[in-house]
């Protein structure tokens, strides 16, 4: 047995590679999926892309696009042609130049590659035309307000045409982009390693040699590792752990309210469900005390909300403030609906927080007469159930997009892919077409208001909370800025 153990150890030694100094060790909640900007679909992979792949534009802390690979852009007066000017002298990790042809290739790859997750995000693009070496034109089928916001995310990421053609759908095994770090290796479920790209266009601002992304699903364990010095930075700190971080002199806290939301999807179409009656849906909303929910489960760190964007967002519809809890009114509504004790099944994701939220809602709604049964399931089961519309109430979270269109269009438009409750209302649909049809701020805000008029009365979705995204890091790390999209940037970061 001893000899066997020795053999095991030696096998382990031979099968891994060494580590150099000046390494930022980043603890993440999930193991990212495919590291291909066209195919990627998770929040976790976006965290890695901020190191690997620069975008045409980045997002500023005020949610407006700022130059990254593109330095300037103009939209034609009919809002159907966007001209973009690329930064000169930018190279991909394989030394290939980033020019208009490469940009055209990347955008067309997003549009045409089989299985592309980006196609639906930029579907209104009709054609991409090269104007000169560093200028290209995007021609739209119809005005599309969220386009610039899409370019601040994966749809705006440029890949080396040479590498992409060589690797095809295996691009994710060795991604080649134009970001500050280049890909080194990936051990699934264990680590992703990237190292500083010496020819990066903004290399003076990159002070870290290597980044190791380490997936550690359990929030407590991530924090324990940070405190023990095995990590330098972690994301999605549990809100209940905030006091521990603030108490610890060796740790610092970064935070920003998310662009997404936590919500309750109410499915009126589910046969026999009491939720078919709008009064029952209203009663359920009235029975919930959002602030108490926030306090009990999240130590009051999150933000109570009632819309697809948080009350702090510039596009929040101020005519509809967060409603107060009113149990008496909820009871009256249930009595009026002739259903004093409605039975509802609430589906939640079996992670550490969602069942808690579910149980608090269950206890609150009980006081108004609701009898809620909780069903916790793994996420694939839930997605299957949601895709099929086979649920009554579903505790649903969305990570959010910089443009509110990304939080509404696919959820509330008729026959859109994320519209799990099959909500379809002509007025709401018209409002959604209106908001994406123009970049005019006032016109868009009017559209958000008329969308709220319908959705907040019909309640296919009851918006509850907006999470605060929390990072904890060792105080030897400086230059950390919390971006509203929840992704840590590595530009300007220093390990002292």
């Amino acid at each position: 047995m001893l000899r066997l153990s020795a053999a095991c150890l030696i096998a382990g030694v031979l099968l891994s590679t060494p580590l150099s100094a000046q390494t930022l060790r980043y603890g993440m909640m999930e193991d990212p999926d495919a590291l291909d900007p066209t195919l990627a679909r998770t929040f976790a992979s976006r965290m890695v892309f901020t190191a690997l792949c620069d975008k045409l534009v980045d997002i500023g802390t005020d949610l407006k696009p700022v130059p990254q690979l593109a330095t300037a852009w103009e939209l034609s007066s009919d809002e159907k042609t966007l001209t973009m000017h690329l930064r000169p002298g930018v190279k991909f990790h394989d030394g290939e130049p980033l020019n208009a042809a490469a940009a055209k290739f990347s955008i067309e790859r997003h549009l045409k590659m089989p299985g592309s997750q980006r196609r639906s995000e930029i579907a209104p693009i009709d054609a991409v035309e090269v104007v000169d070496d560093l200028t290209f034109k995007i021609v739209l089928k119809a005005p599309f307000a969220p386009l610039m916001a899409q370019f601040t995310d994966r749809a705006g990421m440029m890949v080396s045409p040479k590498a992409a053609e060589r690797l095809g759908d295996k691009f994710s095994t060795a991604p080649v982009c134009a970001g500050p770090f280049k890909f080194v290796e990936r051990v699934p479920q264990d680590r992703i390693v990237v190292e500083r790209f010496p020819d990066y266009w903004n290399k003076d601002q990159i002070h870290i040699q290597r980044i190791e992304f380490r997936p550690i699903p359990d929030a407590t364990v991530r924090l324990t590792n940070l405190r023990a010095g095995q990590l330098d930075l972690l994301e999605r700190l549990a809100p209940t752990d905030v006091p521990q971080v603030t108490r610890d002199a060796k740790l610092k806290l970064g935070s920003v309210y998310e662009l997404g939301f936590q919500s309750l999807l109410l499915n009126p179409a589910k046969a026999g469900s009491p939720l078919g009656d709008p009064r029952v849906r209203q009663a359920l909303e009235l029975s919930i005390d959002r602030n108490a929910l926030n306090q009990v489960v999240f130590n009051g760190e999150f933000l109570a909300g009632n819309q697809w964007v948080s009350p702090k967002h510039p596009n929040y519809v101020k005519e509809y403030p967060v409603p107060k809890r009113d149990v008496a009114k909820a009871k009256a509504l249930l009595a009026e609906a002739g259903q004093p004790k409605p039975q509802i099944t609430l589906s939640v994701y079996a992670n550490s927080e969602a069942p808690q939220v579910g149980q608090v809602i269950q206890a609150m709604a009980k006081e108004a007469g609701f009898d809620i049964k909780i069903q916790a399931a793994d996420f694939t089961t839930l997605l299957d159930m949601a895709d099929k519309g086979n649920f009554e109430a579903y505790l649903y979270s969305w990570s959010g997009r910089p443009d509110p269109d990304g939080n509404t269009f696919s959820f509330l438009g008729c026959k859109t892919p994320l519209n799990y409750t099959r909500y379809c209302n002509a007025d709401a649909d018209a409002a959604l077409q209106a908001e994406r049809g123009t970049v005019d701020t006032a016109k868009r805000q009017a559209a958000w208001k008329s969308l709220a008029d319908r959705v907040l009365t019909d309640r296919p979705v009851v918006y509850l909370l907006h999470r605060k995204l929390l990072w904890a890091y060792a105080n030897k790390l400086t230059g950390f800025v919390a971006y509203p999209d929840g992704l840590a940037r590595f530009t300007g970061l220093k390990l002292n």
Partner: protein, 314 residues
């Protein structure tokens, strides 16, 4: 003996085929498929349809099993759709980790179980025997994941001596590696140590009661020498045989321990794959663990038969 070996091997094949069929069929019964799990937040219907088509997810069950089985016969365990890596590569990557954990756990189990088993057999009926049995019962009764949590609470949270998780490859730092593996190995080994103690005790009692030991004792061989030179070597065969079986189970049994300590081994790979409906990975890993299990069983049987010819008829 050769005939016996051939017969046993012939029996192992249908067992493995059946195991692969069971796990394959079971996975297809789960709600949702790889496309559901992989279509991401956006849930673009075209993407879902594309994935289903690309990986034959919309074909009938036997056809898909056929695709998989044909691959395996050609030495290809398939590709993890989620991790975009061949399952064989994944296995090669995760096996050393789980193997190291299992080896260390076995070391813990032997270090605790064998001396205790010997002691309780030699001092049968005394307080030492009672104590050893008590420790064995503790090992058998304490839930692994609870012991893991308690150890994290004590050694990581309170004392800060050991990392709560985070596997470090031995090449990077052997010391850090052992520190990270200490708790999972102990938790896993603790349970087996009870089993090893009981096996050792039983085997030693059997040998100590045999004629030649009694003869040796009558000749005046010292008690220590009697135990170490005469009894233990004879008791070793069943201990090794049973130890091998336990080892086989360790490989597949570390699922929860790996989950708690975030050890990136087989168990974690499998659980994540089940939840992501990453069929090829589940299939590949289960087949590998099943083959190891069957192989170690076979080895144990052969070893036992080599020692005791009567068993060859079985």
């Amino acid at each position: 003996m050769l005939q016996f070996l051939a017969r046993r091997l012939a029996l192992a094949v249908p067992t493995l085929i059946l195991a692969s069929m069971i796990i394959f069929a079971l996975q297809q019964l789960l709600p949702g498929d790889t496309a559901t799990a992989l279509s991401g937040e956006e849930r673009d219907p075209e993407v879902i349809a594309f994935i289903r088509d690309k990986y034959h997810l919309d074909r009938p069950l036997p056809v898909r099993y056929g695709y998989w089985a044909a691959g395996v016969l050609g030495g290809d365990l398939g590709e993890s759709i989620r991790l975009q890596k061949s399952v064989s590569e994944l296995v090669a990557e995760k096996l050393p980790v789980t193997l190291e954990l299992a080896c260390l756990a076995m070391l813990v189990a032997l270090a605790i179980g064998v001396p205790m088993g010997i002691l309780s057999a030699v001092r049968r009926g005394t307080w030492a025997d009672t104590l050893a049995n008590g420790v064995a019962l503790w090992g058998l009764s304490i839930p692994n994941f609870w012991l893991g949590i308690l150890m994290i609470l004590l050694f990581s949270v309170q004392l800060g001596w050991l990392p709560a998780s985070g596997y470090v490859p031995p090449s990077e730092s052997l010391w850090e590696n052992l520190k990270a593996m200490a708790m999972p190995a102990f938790v896993l080994g603790n349970a087996i140590s009870a089993v090893m103690m009981r096996h050792t005790r039983a085997a030693m009692l059997g040998v100590l009661g045999s004629d030649y030991v009694r003869t040796a004792r009558a000749k005046g061989v010292s008690p220590l020498r009697l135990v170490l030179r005469h009894a233990l070597p004879n008791a070793a065969i069943p201990i090794i045989t049973l130890g091998a079986l336990e080892f086989g189970q360790l490989l597949s049994g570390a699922v929860l321990t790996e989950q708690i300590f975030s050890v990136p081994g087989f168990g974690k790979l499998m659980v994540d794959a089940v939840f992501n409906r990453d069929f090829a990975t589940v299939q590949g890993v289960v087949i590998c663990t099943a083959a190891t299990y069957v192989g170690l069983n076979l080895a144990a049987d052969v070893l036992a038969a080599a020692v005791n010819p009567k068993l060859r008829r079985a």
